[in-house]
């Protein structure tokens, strides 16, 4: 028993370390003196100072975080409701709609981007945050949908039936029984969707407007002039903030466990 647990822990730790190695390099190179992000010349905090004064970069960051949050949230809702609903209805169009909703991840981004752009222009939508959200949500939905769908298959239908037999309304049966069971899948899907949105360049370039720049667009188009360690500094700060939030929420969670209200 104990030996098996140890192997599983070792396996996970090693894999996590491997996944974090490039991250560590990114963080270390944010202190790189050289203008060239990949050639090390010495230690410096200059890039952090420059970053703080770089209004446009910080604004791009803000736009991206907002965009990713809204998109993964909307995708979470649409995808989850969709997956749950699809499991219950028996319409003939069901299979087709399911297939179509997963198409965004089957098509190369550049095509998707161009198609969206043409489509949104046809609808006369203003290019900017609105179109960005629509575009991003579209490619985020499949992630949530598939995760939740896979999760639903394993759920014992009789649990929901039992709750209803005991007098629970359909809504309560969903919120109190089904939802908590699929929550890990919903959460997984949303986390992945958030990651996809935060790193999307091609679709974003096509559906954004003249006043809305996003972080990945900024980073990837900077390749022509050279990516500076300022970007490393930004990524490092983002990681720091994320870990801080995670740490804080776990602390709060731990405290709540100790002192249940």
């Amino acid at each position: 028993m104990r030996r098996r647990i140890r192997f599983s822990v070792i396996y996970q730790v090693i894999l996590l370390l491997l996944m974090y190695i490039p991250i560590c390099v990114v963080v270390i190179y944010s202190f790189n003196e050289s203008r060239n992000s990949t050639i090390w010349t010495g230690w410096s905090l200059d890039w952090y100072r420059k970053l703080m004064k770089n209004r446009s970069l910080l604004e791009a960051l803000k736009n991206s975080v907002i965009l990713a949050t809204i998109s993964s949230g909307a995708a979470g809702i649409i995808g989850t409701l969709g997956a749950v609903g699809m499991a219950r209805i028996g319409w003939r169009s069901k299979g087709v709609v399911e297939y179509i909703s997963s198409i965004p991840i089957m098509i190369p981004e550049i095509i998707l981007g161009m198609v969206f752009m043409a489509f949104f222009a046809m609808l006369n939508l203003p290019f900017g945050m609105v179109t960005l959200v629509l575009g991003h949500t579209t490619f985020c939905v499949p992630y949530v949908y598939m995760m939740v769908k896979a999760s639903l298959v394993g759920i014992d239908r009789s649990l929901g039936e039992a709750a209803k037999d005991l007098g629970a309304s359909e809504r309560r049966a969903f919120f109190d029984i089904t939802l908590p069971l699929i929550l890990p899948a919903v959460f997984s899907g949303m986390l992945l969707a958030f990651a996809m949105s935060l790193d999307d360049v091609v679709i974003s370039i096509f559906v954004t407007g003249a006043k809305t720049n996003t972080l990945p667009i900024r980073i990837y188009t900077q390749l022509k002039s050279g990516v500076t360690p300022e970007i490393n500094a930004l990524c490092t700060l983002m990681l720091a903030v994320t870990f801080l939030l995670v740490g804080m929420s776990r602390l709060l969670g731990g405290i709540r466990k100790k002192y249940p209200q």
Binding site: S56, I70, G128, M129, V201, I217, T228
Partner: protein, 360 residues
Amino acid sequence: MRKTKGFFAVLMAMALVVVSLSGCKGSGGESEKKEKGDPGELNIYTWAEYVPQDVIDRFESETGIRVNYTNFEANEEMLAKLETSEGGEYDIIIASDYIIKIAAEEGLVKELDKEKIPNFKNIDPVFQNFFYDPENKLTVPYGPGIPLLVYDPSVVTCEITGYDSLWDASLKDNLALMDSERVVMGMTLKTMGESFNTEDLDVIRAAGNKLMELAPNVRVLSQNQTQDYLLSGEVSAAFLFTSQVVLALSQNPELEVVYPKEGLGFGVDAAFIPSKAPNSDNAHAFLNFILDGEMGAQIAQQTYYLCPNQASYEFLDEEFKKSLIISTDDVPNGEFIQDVGPEATSLHEEFWTEFKAALD
């Protein structure tokens, strides 16, 4: 259960906060009405950091105009967006020569009102009258360059005098080229004494076959920062754009530069104003601003391209002038890469795909 209700409550709260935050900035995409006395905005569209931040900051503080700087990765993306917006949305676009020609043909480029750009006279005439703007009515040159061969003499054993030298067997797995089919096929065409822009399909086929022989030598194909591979020792010879040449030499002065004997290429990134730019006056003011002598120098020293501004020469610092190996005398000798029509382009495509398949 309380836990899931709490989860949704948090989600809703976050969503509300986020929506209200985004509402604040008003990035709906419509151009805002100018109030009296409000200098307004300027929408710049080009690669990130291509217009240095300090130049933008200075422009903003001198004129009070708010600059929105958004980016694209490839010229074709820019053109697709420009078409969709029918020449509107953006005020200043900086893109490459061949795409400007297409944009102009589609009527998406505005004719410049030279009276609003008194500094226009500062442009070095060597950088004017190009194929995409033969009457100099549409553009302001921004980043001109000539691609050259650069190699590390301490590692390379053969003599490099031109494109043809790259086929030498001693350079096996040691070459970095541009990830651009027209440039590489163009290079091959030059070794056969042909023009970059020949539309003769047989000639192109011959070039394609010759290109296959180059495959074993190529280690990396790259668009950006190709000089890094040379500097880190990954390759010993490379074909680099001007900015990359300058950066390579500044970090390793031992590297040798070669002007290919078969003939030079040439390329320019230029700034233009879209036909329906919402802030056309501000756009003209910006062009005038960057054509100022001092500004021109500041830009050139950060983009590392040739400086097209005559008035800037006195402001360029000595070290930079020395590192600029290319002089403006070479410019007229360079040949532009231009569009060659659908059949030729498709043929280029095919050979390029085959070439890549043969690599590695």
